[in-house]
């Protein structure tokens, strides 16, 4: 059983003018520990597909199995609960809670999971250490650079011990050097913690490091190429 299985997945937005078919009959299997990039031009359906996989949106057709569970059939609250325990999110604009420190941002997810204070503090510190921010645990987002904020976002995504991490254009707001360092870190987490990453991206640096590149065009899969893992770590 694959970690994620998409069967004939469709998403159509019924706009006032004409229905927009954002995702058309996509079928994919994503295995554990894959480092997958979903690429394509703007409007190709990358973000919609990511939203569907992440349970942030409901498909209009087909099914999405995550660890054997069809998440498209889950009720709203169960879906939120599923996301909390199974999916880590990294957003383009970092989206940290501005009034919380880096440590509190990471801890917050574990609080929602009901983890005890001592355990969540310990894990938050470990994760921030592993993303290279051991010395900035008490900094607020506004006191951190874009790259550092995205590292906190990655630590937050991992805090819940998810099955996989969805990263929507995580390097789009970062300069070349910072983006490279962030990708190095994610690749390391992928290797060391066997964490599955799924990116939607335009960034050739991400594409270069991905094990697998799924290209979308007009909402449908145009190509699905597995790359040599040797590309990892090269920048």
């Amino acid at each position: 059983m694959s970690l994620i299985e998409l069967h004939d997945l469709c998403k159509t937005y019924n706009t006032a003018a004409v229905p927009v078919r954002a995702v058309r009959n996509v079928s994919l299997q994503i295995e554990k520990q894959e480092f997958t990039a979903i690429v394509g031009p703007s409007g190709s359906g990358k973000t919609t597909l990511l939203n569907l996989i992440g349970g942030l949106d409901k498909p209009t057709g087909g099914s999405i199995f995550v660890e054997g569970k069809d998440i498209a059939t889950l009720k709203a609250n169960d879906l939120i609960d599923f996301r909390l325990h199974h999916i880590g999110f990294v957003f383009q604009a970092y989206n940290l809670i501005p009034v919380f420190t880096a440590k509190e941002n990471v801890e917050f997810i574990m609080l929602l999971q009901g983890v005890s204070k001592a355990k969540r503090e310990q894990r938050a510190l470990e994760l921030l250490e592993s993303v290279g921010l051991g010395d900035r645990v008490n900094s607020f987002p506004t006191q951190l650079s874009g790259g550092q904020q995205q590292r906190v976002a990655v630590a937050r995504a991992l805090a819940s011990r998810p099955s996989f991490v969805l990263a929507d254009e995580p390097t789009a707001n970062l300069d070349s050097h910072t983006a490279g360092a962030l990708l190095d870190m994610m690749a390391q987490l992928n290797r060391e913690f066997e964490m599955t990453f799924i990116f939607s991206t335009h960034d050739p640096r991400v594409i270069k490091r991905a094990h697998r590149v799924v290209t979308l065009e007009d909402g449908a899969v145009k190509s699905d190429i597995r790359q040599n893992e040797a590309a990892e770590g090269t920048e």
Partner: protein, 405 residues
């Protein structure tokens, strides 16, 4: 941590939060102070009426209120007076002999109630002796038939201190008696009506003039405190089922009603202020929610259930309102305590105040239960204010909210 997040969120836009906190504080301060002034006024009316003549409880012979003839005295009145003195919760008692009559001067005549008292006893129940503006309260050696009258009556009859006053009244046989008295004291209370119609004499003098054995028509009782008055009243009523026992509320329902109305007005006024604030708080929270639309969407996306987000917004609203509310209550309490101590001098409005039987020095007062009720009212207001913003939050679609900039 959610409480901490809610508290920190309030201070993300300090200026906006401070505006609503200051508005809440000022609104509550104003309503508390004005409410305390109204209630102080109501309390003043009650206190002055009790201290002037009503006392807490009165005992009469049944039917006395309808027929105030001299023959309607309390059977074994002095024995009952002695007994009530020893009942628990009673601070003092005073027996009164009441005779309806006329007071005359060389120029005028006026209908009055002649109140026969034992001065030392009366002093323990009422405070007419404190209201003397001329002369003394039944001094030793005050001459034959010393009389204490009110300023208003003295003015109407054209009499002064040490003037002679002629009192006429019926005795037990129905015969008309005339007696000359000497004015030894002139009092002035908050009620000009009382001042023009009550003449005080020593009981012994009245008995002599009436040519009768000692008798009393009224036993005035002062309880140890207003708080235990209802229990004392119940005990006295149970002890003397054959007599008419009345509390001050029954004797002067208009005073009790006015006092209760003042309290009701205070609650209504505070309610109106909070209702107005409700819209301000709702607006502030709506702005806060709209500004944080993406962030709230992210919270839902990463696994915060909508119920928890709803709670967070509710907590933010309550904390915002309570902060303003507590500030308003504290400032209000300080103002009330200060003004209660210093008093508000309303001498300029003395004639109007006397019509209502209230003191010209007003001491704002707010009962403790109102300080307890207010935070509850604020929390209810805040909860209502949070409904619309929180409703917006629970309808956020995270996939859309995340892409909002």
């Amino acid at each position: 941590m959610i409480l901490s997040l809610a508290w920190k969120n309030i201070w993300r836009n300090k200026k906006r939060s401070l505006i609503i906190i200051v508005a809440t504080a000022l609104g509550l301060w104003g309503s508390l102070l004005s409410g305390a002034i109204w209630m102080g006024w109501g309390e003043s009316m009650v206190d002055t009426a009790i201290s002037r003549d009503l006392a807490h409880i009165q005992i009469h012979k049944p039917g006395y209120a309808q027929n105030k003839e001299i023959i309607n005295y309390i059977p074994d009145g002095f024995q009952i007076l002695k007994e009530t003195q020893n009942l628990p919760g009673i601070a003092a008692v005073s027996g009164r002999t009441l005779v309806e009559g006329m007071a005359a001067s060389p120029t005028s005549t006026f209908g009055v109630k002649i109140v026969g008292i034992v001065p030392a006893q009366a002093k323990t129940v009422t405070d007419i002796y404190k209201r003397l503006i001329e002369g003394e309260y039944f001094p030793d050696g005050g001459g034959r038939n010393p009389v204490v009258i009110g300023r208003k009556l003295a003015d109407r009859l054209g009499l002064k201190l040490h003037s002679k006053i002629v009192l006429s009244f019926q005795d037990l046989d129905g015969s008309l008696n005339y007696a000359a008295g000497k004015i030894v004291g002139i009092y002035k209370t908050e009620s000009s009506l009382f001042d023009q119609s009550n003449v005080f004499m020593r009981q012994a003098d009245l008995f002599r003039l009436l040519n009768t054995k000692p008798l009393i028509h009224e036993i005035a009782i002062r309880a140890e405190s207003a708080r235990i008055m209802p229990q004392v009243y119940a005990a006295v009523k149970a002890n003397y089922p054959q007599l008419a026992v009345h509390s001050w509320k029954e004797l002067a329902p208009e005073v009790a009603y006015t006092s209760a109305a003042m309290e009701a007005f205070t609650y209504i006024f505070i309610g109106i202020i909070l209702f107005a604030l409700l819209f301000g708080i709702t607006n502030t929270m709506l702005m806060a929610v709209i500004e944080r639309f993406r962030e709230l969407g992210v919270l839902i996306a990463v696994g915060m259930k909508k119920g928890r987000v709803f709670t967070m917004i509710l907590l933010e609203t309550i904390l915002l309102s309570i902060t303003g509310g507590v500030a308003g209550i504290v400032i209000g309490a300080i103002s009330i305590v200060y003004l209660a101590h210093a008093g508000i001098d309303l001498t300029a409005l003395a004639s109007g105040m006397e019509t209502f039987g209230a003191s010209t020095v007003l001491r704002p007062f707010l009962p403790l239960d109102m300080y307890i009720a207010l935070p509850i009212m604020i929390v209810i207001t805040a909860s209502l204010s949070a409904v619309l913003p929180a409703w917006k939050v629970i309808h956020i679609q995270p996939s859309e909210a995340i892409r909002t900039y």
